[in-house]
Amino acid sequence: MSVLSLKGVTYQYEGTKKNVLKNINAEFEAGKVYTIIGKSGSGKSTMLSLIAGLDKCKDGTILYNDADLKTIDRDVYRAKNIGVIFQAYNLITNATAVENIVLSMEISNSSVKNKTDFAYELLEKVGINRETANRRVLKLSGGEQQRVGIARALSHHPDIIIADEPTGNLDRDTEAEILKIFTSLAHDEGKCVIIVTHSKKVTLIADTIIGISNGKITVFKENTKN
C-alpha cells in the first residue's frame, strides 16, 4: 500500500510560467528505497520539497496515507511523519550535534524519555562519537555534518525519509555505511526512503529508480522483491 501518492502534481516557480513538474503521478510504498535521478534543474529537489511539505504544488494532490497534504497540518507532518536530509545539511550551526538531535525530538514531541542519551545513541549509529557530538556543528567537517543531518532525520521515527544527495560529501566507507542504514531502515524497519542522487552507487540500493526529465518522470527500475 502506498504511504505517499503524487496525483497529477504540477509545479511552477513564482513569477514564471514554465512548469518545472508536469502532471506527475507516482506511488511510494513503505519498506522500499526509491532513488530519483535526473540532470541539474530537472525538478528533483523541487519534487522532494513538495513531498517534504516545504512547498505546495500548483495543481494535483500529494497524499500521505490518503490524506491530502493541503488539508493536514504540514508543520506536524514535517515534525512527525517525514525526516528530511538536506544536501546543505541545514543544521542549527551554533548548537552542538547532540543539541540538534534533541531539538528535533522536542519539536516532534517525541515520547523518548531520555532524549539526550537517545541522541548520543543515534549519532553513534551514524558514526559520530560522543566527543564530536558535543561540538558545535560549525566545527564539524562536511561529512560529519551530513551524518548529524541523517541522525536528525531519524530521530523522530518518521514513516518517510527523504534525502537530497545524502552521500555527496562522504568518503566511500562512510557512504557505504550510510547506504546500509538507509537499506536497513526500508527493508528492516519498513520505512519509505526516497533519495535524490547523482551517485550510481546509491541507485544500486534502490528498489525503484525514478528519472525526471523535462518535468516528467520515468520509472527505470521496479524491484518487486520486497
Binding site: S49, A52, L54, D55, D75, V76, Y77, R78, A79, K80, V84, F86, Q87, A88, N90, L91, I92, T93, N94, A95, E99, L103, S104, E106, I107, S108, R152
Partner: protein
C-alpha cells in the same frame, strides 16, 4: 519548556549580538528607572502640596482695591488706608459651608494694662491703622493707642520653631495665656498671675467704641526668636512681637459685641473638601456678604515657589524618558530586524523541522525577555543608586534658575512707590522651595519599569513575529543553498 531552554541556550550562544541589544535595553531601563523614580516622587509631592495649598483658602484684602478706594476718598492730600475687616459673625457664617471640610480661626485685639510696661514702650503705642500721604494734614479722631496685643490661636511660630515654651504650658482653656520671657522678666510676671487687660471694640461705620476687658491667667512663658518687628511695619510697642500675649481663640472673641465690627480682628483659614471647589466657595462667600475688597484665594505664589522647581524637575525627567524611550525603541527595532535577518537561516531550519511559526516567535520573544529581565535586574540596581545624586543635581539647577528668574522679575517690578507696610502689599512669598527630594523605588515605579521592559521586549518580539510570518522555510533554505 524546550522553547525556553533553547532560548536560554541561544542567549549564551549569540553572546556578542545579545550584549549589544542588552546594552541598549539596559541604557533605556536605567534612564527610565531614574526618570520614573524622580517623576513619581515629584508627583507625590506635587499632589500633596496641590491638595494642601489648593484646599487651604484665605480671605485676603486686595490691596490694589483698598488703595484705589483710599485714593478716591482722600481729602487734603491725606490718604487714610484702613485695612478692610470682616465682621466676626461673617467669618463664622462663612465657615458654615458644604464646600468645607474644616475651618481654623485666629483672633487678635489691642490691649493695655497700666501695671505692665510693654517692651519698647518708649516708642509709643499703635492702633493697627495705617497712615500714608501728608502726615501734617487733618486726621480726624485719633484712635486708641495700645501697647500690647492679645492673640488667640496664633501658635504657628511654635510649630515653625521660632518660638518655644520656656515655662509652664500652652494655653488650652478659655482665659489662659502665655507671655514672652522678655515681657515676663521686665514686669516680674509669674505663672499663675492674673492679668487684667483693657481693649475696645468699635463700630467702624458710626465711629463709636465700647471698652472691653479680659482677665487672663498666665499659664506659661515663651522664648521668642522672631524678628521684633515685621519687615516694613511701623515700630512701636503694639507692633513689637515681644508684647504679644498668646491665648485661645475663644478668649479673644468672648468680648465681641453686637454691631461692633472693629477692634477684634478675626482671621479664618478654610479648608475645602476639594481644591476644585474654590470658585463655588468664593461665589457663596460674596453672596453671603463678603466685601468685594477681599479676595478668596489659595496661596498660589507659595505653592509655585515651593513646588515650582520640583515640577520643573518632573518635566525634565518625563521629557528625557520619552526621548530615550522613542530613540531606544527605534534602536531596538533596528537591532531586532538585523538580528532576525541574521537568524533567517536558523528560522528556516526550525520551520523545516516542523516547528510552528508561533513557537519560533515565542522562542525569539523568550530570548528578548531573558535579556530584558537581566537588564531589568541590573537596571533597577544602577538606576536606584544613580537616581538620588542625579535628582540633587537637577533640583539644585532648577532652584537656581527659578531664583534667577524671580530676581529678574523683581528687578523688572522695582521702581514703583510702595504704599503701606510691606506685609500688606502683594509682596513675594516668603516660602522656601523644596531643596531636598528623597527618591526611593516604590512598588508602583517598579511595576511601571517592568511594564516598560515588557514593552521593549514586546516591540522586539513583534518585529520577530512580523518577519517570521513572512518567511517560508523553503525560500530561506533555497536562498542559503
Amino acid at each position: 519548556m524546550y522553547i525556553l531552554k533553547n532560548a536560554f541556550r541561544n542567549v549564551l550562544r549569540n553572546g556578542g549580538r545579545n550584549l549589544l541589544i542588552g546594552a541598549i535595553i539596559l541604557a533605556v531601563i536605567v534612564t527610565s528607572v531614574i526618570a520614573l523614580m524622580i517623576s513619581n516622587t515629584a508627583s507625590g509631592i506635587i499632589d500633596d502640596y496641590k491638595s494642601r495649598f489648593g484646599s487651604q483658602v484665605q480671605l485676603k484684602p486686595n490691596m490694589d482695591k483698598v488703595r484705589k478706594e483710599a485714593q478716591e476718598k482722600s481729602t487734603n492730600g491725606l490718604m487714610r488706608i484702613a485695612t478692610p475687616t470682616i465682621p466676626s459673625d461673617q467669618y463664622i457664617a462663612f465657615g458654615e459651608s458644604d464646600y468645607l471640610q474644616k475651618s481654623e480661626y485666629t483672633a487678635s485685639t489691642g490691649v493695655n494694662n497700666d501695671k505692665i510696661t510693654a517692651i519698647a514702650a518708649d516708642k509709643g503705642g499703635g492702633s493697627g491703622m495705617m497712615m500714608a500721604g501728608n502726615i501734617g494734614g487733618s486726621s480726624g479722631n485719633k484712635p486708641t493707642q495700645f501697647m500690647m496685643s492679645l492673640r488667640g490661636n496664633q501658635f504657628t511660630d511654635f510649630t515653625e520653631g521660632t518660638r518655644k515654651l520656656a515655662q509652664g504650658k500652652m494655653p488650652s482653656k478659655k482665659n489662659e495665656a502665655i507671655v514672652s520671657t522678655d515681657l515676663a522678666e521686665a514686669n516680674k510676671i509669674r505663672i499663675g498671675d492674673k492679668l487684667s487687660l483693657q481693649g475696645e471694640v468699635k463700630n467702624s461705620e458710626k465711629g463709636t467704641t465700647a471698652a472691653t476687658s479680659y482677665e487672663v491667667t498666665v499659664v506659661g512663658t515663651y522664648y521668642d526668636a522672631t524678628e521684633e518687628y515685621a519687615e516694613g511695619a511701623m515700630e512701636n510697642a503694639y507692633t513689637n512681637r515681644r508684647n504679644e500675649i498668646l491665648t485661645t481663640y475663644e478668649t479673644v472673641i468672648q468680648q465681641l459685641k453686637p454691631n461692633m465690627d472693629g477692634g477684634i480682628r478675626i482671621n479664618a483659614t478654610y479648608y475645602l473638601k476639594e481644591p476644585g471647589m474654590l470658585d463655588a466657595f468664593a461665589k457663596e462667600l460674596y453672596a453671603k456678604g463678603l466685601d468685594e475688597k477681599f479676595d478668596v484665594a489659595t496661596d498660589e505664589e507659595s505653592y509655585n515657589k515651593i513646588v515650582g522647581p520640583v515640577e520643573g524637575l518632573k518635566g525634565i525627567s518625563v521629557t528625557f524618558m520619552i526621548v530615550v524611550l522613542i530613540f531606544g525603541g527605534i534602536i531596538i527595532v533596528l537591532l531586532s530586524s538585523m538580528a532576525i535577518r541574521e537568524r533567517k537561516y536558523e528560522i528556516g531550519v526550525l520551520r523545516a523541522m516542523g516547528m510552528k511559526k508561533w513557537k519560533v516567535a515565542l522562542g525569539l520573544w523568550s530570548e528578548m525577555l531573558i535579556i530584558t529581565s537581566l537588564c531589568l535586574v541590573f537596571g533597577l540596581g544602577i538606576g536606584s543608586a544613580a537616581a538620588q545624586p542625579i535628582t540633587d543635581t537637577l533640583l539644585a539647577q532648577q532652584i537656581e534658575s527659578a531664583e534667577l528668574e524671580a530676581e529678574e522679575q523683581a528687578q523688572q517690578n522695582s521702581g514703583g512707590m510702595m504704599m503701606g507696610p510691606i506685609s500688606m502689599s502683594n509682596s513675594a512669598s516668603s516660602a522656601e522651595p523644596l531643596r531636598n527630594l528623597d527618591i526611593s523605588l516604590g512598588s508602583d515605579t517598579a511595576l511601571q519599569i517592568i511594564g516598560i521592559a515588557l514593552l521593549l521586549a514586546s516591540i522586539a518580539g513583534l518585529i520577530s513575529i512580523s518577519r517570521i510570518t513572512k518567511y517560508e522555510p523553503i525560500k530561506i533554505l533555497m536562498e542559503r543553498n
